[in-house]
Symmetry: C2
Subunit: 272 residues, 2 copies
């Protein structure tokens, strides 16, 4: 695979969740994948993880994840704020420029209250992010996750939040699986110009086998990935593109062939 075509490819390590960080690094290095998207539950010490990643010649595209602000009680909210401060420190230590923010569900609050709580939570950690040089990448999730994972569900909403927060430390992360259906997606991507902090790809298979673990490899579904990539390119984003797939079958069979397959599908269905 021509390395020139793959300079923007990032392997988000949740795609092979059974692998340790060391295994993911080894597979990426063996296939000259330039970036890795790291999850917090995959390391104990950020500085040690960072050393391993750098030693293999890899860069970190983002750290997953902060957020989950919409806790119902003041005590829990304070705990979430503290955890987000820790996540910002970890992002800096591991060499990530972006901390991916998944907002969290309503947890028994009204949707309006939960959404206000998310904005308040981000506001509280804004100066920490600014000082650390970390971008908080607000990632809208697909509306089918509203009840369980994220009250932030459209790119318009993420853009509105970024407008309200008005800080260079706030951006948006665009995941094709979460936004492809949106009649407004082109306009909202253009509106996000200058604040696009990441682009994630996978695919939407038909029928969708499950809500959480139903995502597919690029090319095995109906998302117009090349179209989205071009729109995002045209909006000025030239950073890494993360392959992030939650799929039981890929997890069960993750082996030596996985990275080569991802590279092939990336070139065929995202680039070009």
């Amino acid at each position: 695979m021509s390395s020139e075509l793959l300079t923007r490819l990032s392997f988000n390590q949740i795609t092979a969740d059974p692998w340790s960080l060391e295994q993911s690094i080894r597979h990426c290095a063996a296939h000259s994948v330039p970036y890795i998207g790291v999850w917090r539950h995959k390391f104990d010490e950020a500085t040690k993880a960072s050393a391993l990643i750098r030693a293999a010649g890899l860069r970190v595209s983002s750290l997953c994840r902060g957020g989950w602000f919409s806790a119902p009680t003041p005590t829990e909210r304070r705990e979430r704020i503290a955890d987000n401060r820790l996540a910002i420190e970890q992002a800096a230590a591991i060499g990530a420029e972006v901390l991916v923010i998944v907002s969290g569900p309503a947890n028994g609050q009204s949707l309006a209250d939960a959404r206000a709580t998310v904005l308040d939570g981000l506001r509280e950690v804004l100066t920490d992010a600014e000082r650390a040089g970390i971008t908080l990448g607000i990632e809208p999730l697909h509306p089918m996750y509203t009840a369980e994972r994220s009250v932030v569900v459209t790119l318009r909403q993420a853009n509105d939040m970024a407008d309200a927060l008005a800080s260079p430390a706030v951006g948006v992360v665009i995941d094709a699986f979460h936004v492809w259906w949106d009649p407004e997606v082109n306009a909202q991507i253009e509106r996000a110009r200058g604040r696009i902090a990441g682009f994630h790809v996978s695919d939407w298979p038909v029928p969708l086998p499950g809500i959480l673990m139903g995502r597919a490899l690029m090319g095995d579904g109906v998302i117009e990935l090349r179209h989205l990539r071009r729109i995002i390119d045209a909006a000025g984003y030239s950073g890494p593109i993360e392959v992030e797939i939650f799929n039981d079958e890929i997890w069960a069979n993750a082996g030596d062939g996985l990275l080569a397959l991802i590279q092939q599908r990336f070139v065929e269905h995202v680039l070009g």
Copy 2:
């Protein structure tokens, strides 16, 4: 159950799909449910069905469904147009004021092309609907159905389409299950003032057991139904409210208790 509280209740017969039209009518009449939402596959002749419904003292809140315009070939598109003309005739014959429009999936087209096809299809049958006195109720489905059932997925989009069609025969049908997650839902309901052609209720259980058959009885999920009902009332809608639930368990156990349970949940979780 006080009949005054139940003057707006409609039983959408898909809620008990195993029942014949005759059975649904008998259950509704026995419980003084004033409206029934009828499905086309449940009758052969609209005039005979209409006579049965009137004889039981019931009114038809809507006919399900027209639409499915987004066919990939010209021949299939013509067939869909013809079928929608038939559906408009059936709606008039059965005494429904509203034909519910489910747009259909992209069927291999790009989303943009499929959406244009839906608008073209509606435009083609507009004069038929106007002449018959039938409102085409564009129902946005939840975005998780984009790939398989409807490229129309937000109330903003349905409002935009209604604006573009600019006809008294075009309205929107608001189903709580499909729109509750939308950060814009309050504003788009207000924008739909004067064109709200129906309101459907069910609930979103956590976790959602399945994409198509996962809906729950009102009160068994997280949708703020009373809040939505109040916003829709405030936007001037005073017509029937249909209980439409796709749920395997309800289908399997549909019996004498179902209508009373629906009435109780309707009063507790939708009214008030």
